[in-house]
Assembly symmetry: C6
Homo-oligomer: 257 residues x 6
Amino acid sequence: MSRPYYKPIADEVEIFRAAYAQRLPMMLKGPTGSGKSRFVEFMAHELGRPLIQVSCHDETSAADLIGRFLLKGGETVWQDGPVARAVRSGAILYLDEIAEAREDVVVILHSLSDHRREIFIDRTGENLKASAEFMMVVSFNPGYQKSLKELKPSTRQRFVALDFRTPHEDVETEIVQTESGVDSKMALKLVRFANKVRGLHELGLTETVSTRLLVDAGKMINAGIGPRKSCAVSVVSPLTDDLEIQETLSEYIALSF
Amino acid sequence: MSRPYYKPIADEVEIFRAAYAQRLPMMLKGPTGSGKSRFVEFMAHELGRPLIQVSCHDETSAADLIGRFLLKGGETVWQDGPVARAVRSGAILYLDEIAEAREDVVVILHSLSDHRREIFIDRTGENLKASAEFMMVVSFNPGYQKSLKELKPSTRQRFVALDFRTPHEDVETEIVQTESGVDSKMALKLVRFANKVRGLHELGLTETVSTRLLVDAGKMINAGIGPRKSCAVSVVSPLTDDLEIQETLSEYIALSF
Amino acid sequence: MSRPYYKPIADEVEIFRAAYAQRLPMMLKGPTGSGKSRFVEFMAHELGRPLIQVSCHDETSAADLIGRFLLKGGETVWQDGPVARAVRSGAILYLDEIAEAREDVVVILHSLSDHRREIFIDRTGENLKASAEFMMVVSFNPGYQKSLKELKPSTRQRFVALDFRTPHEDVETEIVQTESGVDSKMALKLVRFANKVRGLHELGLTETVSTRLLVDAGKMINAGIGPRKSCAVSVVSPLTDDLEIQETLSEYIALSF
Amino acid sequence: MSRPYYKPIADEVEIFRAAYAQRLPMMLKGPTGSGKSRFVEFMAHELGRPLIQVSCHDETSAADLIGRFLLKGGETVWQDGPVARAVRSGAILYLDEIAEAREDVVVILHSLSDHRREIFIDRTGENLKASAEFMMVVSFNPGYQKSLKELKPSTRQRFVALDFRTPHEDVETEIVQTESGVDSKMALKLVRFANKVRGLHELGLTETVSTRLLVDAGKMINAGIGPRKSCAVSVVSPLTDDLEIQETLSEYIALSF
Amino acid sequence: MSRPYYKPIADEVEIFRAAYAQRLPMMLKGPTGSGKSRFVEFMAHELGRPLIQVSCHDETSAADLIGRFLLKGGETVWQDGPVARAVRSGAILYLDEIAEAREDVVVILHSLSDHRREIFIDRTGENLKASAEFMMVVSFNPGYQKSLKELKPSTRQRFVALDFRTPHEDVETEIVQTESGVDSKMALKLVRFANKVRGLHELGLTETVSTRLLVDAGKMINAGIGPRKSCAVSVVSPLTDDLEIQETLSEYIALSF
Amino acid sequence: MSRPYYKPIADEVEIFRAAYAQRLPMMLKGPTGSGKSRFVEFMAHELGRPLIQVSCHDETSAADLIGRFLLKGGETVWQDGPVARAVRSGAILYLDEIAEAREDVVVILHSLSDHRREIFIDRTGENLKASAEFMMVVSFNPGYQKSLKELKPSTRQRFVALDFRTPHEDVETEIVQTESGVDSKMALKLVRFANKVRGLHELGLTETVSTRLLVDAGKMINAGIGPRKSCAVSVVSPLTDDLEIQETLSEYIALSF
């Protein structure tokens, strides 16, 4: 695989390398679209390890992660799930949005995330020791989860944690330009529009403009849609259904482009 | 298949084409009966792609969408679900009323709706890459969902979004005439009656008169029922069970026909 | 089958015929015991179509309606459910008390109730087109459901709707006489007693005296129980457990017989 | 089977016979231990019909009542549940505490309890017509259910209903004497003690002293335990855990024996 | 089996014998550690009947109690559960903490606990009559359950009930001495310490010091741990996590030893 | 296995030995990261018994613990779960975070934790007596559980309980130094920083700084990350998402290093 594009925001690359050297599991904290998934893809490539990703949700069962018996030709055959595959093969296991998972699934991973580095597969009776190259990474969106699901302290305290915040203007402009294909001037305009909206705390938006939304707007512009319309359908409408807020944001669009 | 009838309301056709060119997933937002499903059928025909539709609801399981093993002649045989079929065949996948689906089903689709464009089928261990022609479209009814189920920001922000609003009088008259078979004068009467009711915010209706209801009333008129009775059974009674509101609306019917 | 007894209350027969001519689905709204089920049986006979009935409840699964695979002689064999049978055979499908069904079951029927007139059977991959004679009818009790389960607007607006109200005195007397076997004088007494109780809104009964309860009372009289005792066990006790209300109603019985 | 002992309290035997003559389903309403189950056993014997009883609870599934497929020798074999057996064999079906059952189970029985007298077995596709001798009887405890589970009006109104109240002193004395084996003087003492406690509404007991409790006390006396101790363990302790109420009742015991 | 050690507190042995003579089911009421389970073991030995015990909890299914089909060598084979085994073999069936069980499991046992003395096994269609020696005993902890789960009156009133209270000082001292192996002086000290704490209602403990805790403390003393430390780990810490209450109780320990 | 590193905090080693001598089950109470799991590993080694660990969670089923039938080559084969294996082999069974388990799973273990020392395996009908060397140990976090899940008194009172509190400064410094590899001066700095934060009750943290977090910080320092950054990612970010609290803690870091 070619090296994925990733532009570091702060010292996240060094922290990740140190945690990996000590085989400490990592937690990436930050809002949706802030680049957590891309960062893990990048680090997996840097460290030369395969990456196994799982999107967590509250119907994920332990069997979905660990594995299950399947019926093949009249015989039950064991099939590893993504966690068992990662543990055996020394991959980097990335559990996206871990707080969405049911507590029981999270607890099963406890023995993998401390000095034991092993997982007990109760269906087969196997006590699976992690390969020396194995590392566990999870992501968590504190803003969204605040009043909903929380991670238990006994889970949180197993991870070295990194907070992802909005990148500086020039870094974000470079990202938008590279990923959407617009020129640097349009990319800067998009970032500045985003930064204005990000300052509007009085709007009460659940989440604010992410870099991903700006990249999408850039792509629509590239496909021939005007910048104002592109921002309307790629930034405003995905953010809110509220007509008044949509109108306020349209005024900011009109001022920006 | 012959070209389906669809009368554009605004610039939705251009936006959809641009999103398809960039392979960005789309979200169609608007009330029931506003033509979202017809629009997708029309665009699929325009783009020359097969259309695979799924009505979402809170019992839809991942297996219903992705696929499952069936027992055939003593052997378990894999059967693709509608999502896997769409992904493999490069169809347009339309998930109607996505907010009705359980969160876990929605989360499974995340990797299909970002730069990865792939879905992991855990039961078979297959990492299914989307065909180049594949596109994902979802619909969402913000008015109805407001206080019920909400889409997570990390889901919403994956889509370029289009807001469907009530069409202009002449556009809607043409739609009613074409689909129900009444003449243009009766179609206009029906639309004007609808617009009067749509202005009655004090009635507190959950949803207001959709174009679909007008088409149904037109069809009942065509079948020989008088316009007043047709509006009573096709517009008023489907909208509300409240006797007082029914009487108020009957007065508007009496004034209109 | 001989023609079922049904005495029309208003113009419900013409409305139903027109909706059938246009293949528009129908919703029958009204309290329990108001004759909705009998009306559908009558119309099915009039239109010369078989009738397939389903009592909805919140454990009805999609498989219960659509069909399922059964294991027969080591082979899985598909078995149509009542909806698939109705759709294939061009029957009238009657879903009694649709609001009791889980939302997901209702949503599955959406594609059957609009211009598509088809249903996708995900287990077999079959896209089943409705026979030209097929019609869907549902019932709904707005009084009982008011504060409990509601139908979604996107479901309600698919149906032409008929409100069933209490029939006129002479119509109801004829029904009670014909169905219970009492003479017209006793039938009239029963209807007048019912109409007195129906006016007692201050009693706060969940539902009031239906025609069915009067028919049951008539049958008990026919079996030799006195009219007062018959009304007590067939009307009063089925309506309420409240001792005070029972006594109030007993006084009305004593005045009526 | 020899004739079961049953002492009628009011005109319940005649009402039941009339309802059976008309094949109207019956509902027996009254507190626990008031003799509803014994009455049904007695009536089944009087009418010469077998009796099939089911204790309802909120885990009873439709399959538990109607039937299910069992795997026998590699073949799936259908096995009738108690309802199907009663319907086929023309038995009296007694559903004890129907309000405890899930609504869906109750709704399935609707078609059995109106003019249709049939039940559709979806698993086999069989439309099972009730034998001419079949009758359905249900019981319901209105005092206990008041603030808990309620029967839907569309269910209640299908039944002719009988209210069971406390029998007169001499009737209850005869029952206690006959069933426990104590002499008539001791039986009368037990009944008078019960009637005193039944008047103590200020104690706030969920249910008051039933005839069954008096019979149990009589049996303990017969086994050599003194009347006071017998009442303490057979009447007071089963009724309440509250120490103060236990003491109050002990004083009434001391006054009575 | 040698005779189990049991020291009667009041007339519980005579009451149990009388209930057994009349085949009346029994309910043992009292706090945890008050000796209910030991009493049943003792009575089973006295009456020469085998004892079958079940700890109830809210996941116990009817199949866990009654029995189930197991697949053995391609054939389904019925396996009796503990209730069916007790009923067939004439054992004493002890359902510990019956209020923890789901209502449906309790209701299934109703026909076993009244004059019918039978249980219907719906999976096999067998109507199992209880052996003449069979007796049902249940336990219930009223203090703990007060605001949580309650038994329905229709269940409670099926049992002759015995209240277990704290034994007198000399009885409890003998129990502690016999079971833990400490001398009578130390046993008395432990009982007196317990009685002091039992009087401290102002502490608001969920449950107070049971005889079992004193026996455990005695065993720790026997193993060489000092009396104060033994009471801290065997009595105080099992009772409460509250630091202030722990300190208060430590002062009582210091005064007692 | 080589002797695991464990530094005793108080008299926990003697208490555990005494409880084991008397075969009394133990409960370890304390916050996450206080060394409960390490202590059990150490004691198992000291006593020369194998250790079987289970992380409890609210999806753990009885079958997960006790065992289940698996289908192998057409035959169902019983497979012991961790509890059955521990009971048979005389291991030390450690149930981590027992309060997370469902009540029914906990109740199943009751017969193992009192004088009976046996467990009934209902699926096989086996009454499994514990090996003489078997011991049961559970852990519980009273701070975290306070307002969430509680253990029932009838469960708690089965265990001799040990409270784990923060170790003294010199003990904790030795632990941090030994486990992370930093020198004693840096270890002491980390412990002193922790003790300052532990005194800040006004921050309202769910849990405070555990020894485990200090060990992680030490490891990050060893991997070349500065002490301030190491504390930020290993102590502050795992403890809280609150920006203000993060800043307050950063000031304490700046003062400490």
